[in-house]
Amino acid sequence: MMNKLLFGRFIPGESFVHHLDPRNKLLMSFYYIGIIFLANNWSTYLCLFLFTLLAVYLSSIKMGFFIRGVRPLIWLILFTVLLQVFFTRGGKVFWSWGPIVLSQYGLVNGAYIFMRFVLIIFMSTLLTLTTPPLSLADAIEAILKPLRVVRFPVYEVALMLSIALRFVPTLMDETEKIMNAQRARGVDFGEGNLFQQMRAVVPLLIPLFVSSFNRAEDLAIAMEARGYQGGEGRSKYRILTWHYRDTFVVLAFIALTGILIWLRA
């Protein structure tokens, strides 16, 4: 049941993308989502598509993983695309029925939105597949560091994130255990009407909260016993390094932006 989960599914590897600085990868993924909105015609989308394929190729991860990332969302994407297709007016009208119109612009827009979805999903899947969650937490800490000027508790947030990510699999196992235990006692998950389905979540939430409170208490005692006194003045074990290849990737993204602006109609 939880095998569909793509979050935190890190695939170890030795490829070009794996060795990139996580800060760089995170920033570039967000930047990519930003520049995808620059694309507004076929040549720009083709350019983005080729760029994404190149990134996927450089990660030497099988294409199947990316397709699997898109598959659970395909109905959602199609629904959004259909909404766009049938409610956009303009250009040549092929067919209409009341407010529903099948027009040239609608079809083109639908295709663009489909492409946009697939490209964004590919890129974010690439990020999570090639970066271990703890590196991502480190990257977020490094990116948030400038916010210390406005007294934002960067170290605390980073530590919270690391702990949370560390305990996601543990709590997930526990959730599954509790679910099975409650099933054995006769709770039906995902069955019955809406009200019954929501009620079924309660015997799951209560033990989960109780156990996470206990866990937090144990963890706090263990942290204090090891001399944790707060975020300031600590040294780091995992240190991120910026290589030439990271600079190269940034340049590639700048070049892509330039090409997109040039190709934009």
């Binding site: 990332g69 827009n109 996601v168 809406l194 979540v201 989960l208």
Partner: protein, 197 residues
């Protein structure tokens, strides 16, 4: 029992964040499929955090949920509505932060006047309603402008408005039902921890 030191504070918040993350990614736990839309149970966690740990921490947990919603709207949307509206950080993050703030303060304010259980129920309802109403209002404010309509590829603003209103109506009704149903359910786990203190 609950000690107020930094390490405990951090780890309890981290656990709440972990629960939010799990609810986001375990099917049938955080989002219950309901026709085209998904009902969420995640705001229950935010309300619990707000009532037990106070408005400030509730806001933080709600903010984490908002951030996840925001990122997911691009990468792995939860409902057909998500890629349309939650790609705007104001719509996705702000209402979720306010769940924590409103639920926390309502509870603090009511707890002095009435019994604990009804105070929790009202705080939960207030928190959830603020989320729903704010999402609806913000959609109404942001998604009638031509600029945004253009970004989503629709030239005709009035069409987009009508389309969104339909989706919003379908979103508002289940969330209102949820607010009424979830409030009493929240009290059970809460009371246990309140009594432990």
């Amino acid at each position: 029992m609950l000690r107020k030191n930094k390490a405990y504070h951090l780890s309890i918040l981290a656990m709440f964040i972990a629960v939010i993350i799990i609810q986001n990614f375990v099917p049938l736990f955080g989002y219950i499929p309901f026709g085209l839309l998904d009902l969420t149970t995640i705001h229950v966690t935010v309300v619990i955090a707000a009532i037990i740990l106070g408005p400030k921490n509730g806001a933080l947990i709600g903010g984490v949920w908002g951030l996840i919603t925001f990122v997911r709207a691009f990468a792995a949307p939860t409902s057909p509505l998500a890629p349309l509206v939650f790609t705007n950080p104001v719509v996705s993050i702000l209402p979720r932060i306010l769940i924590g703030v409103v639920a926390g303060w309502t509870f603090i304010w009511l707890n002095k006047k009435i019994k604990q259980t009804p105070a929790m129920m009202l705080a939960a309802i207030a928190g959830t309603l603020v989320n729903t109403l704010l999402v609806l209002t913000l959609i109404y404010v942001f998604y009638r402008t031509p600029a945004v309509a253009q970004a989503y590829g629709t030239a005709d603003v009035s069409r987009l408005g009508g389309l969104l209103l339909a989706v919003v109506g379908a979103n508002g009704i289940p969330e209102a039902i949820l607010a009424a149903v979830v409030a009493p359910l929240i009290c059970t786990p809460l009371r246990r921890f309140q009594q432990r203190r």
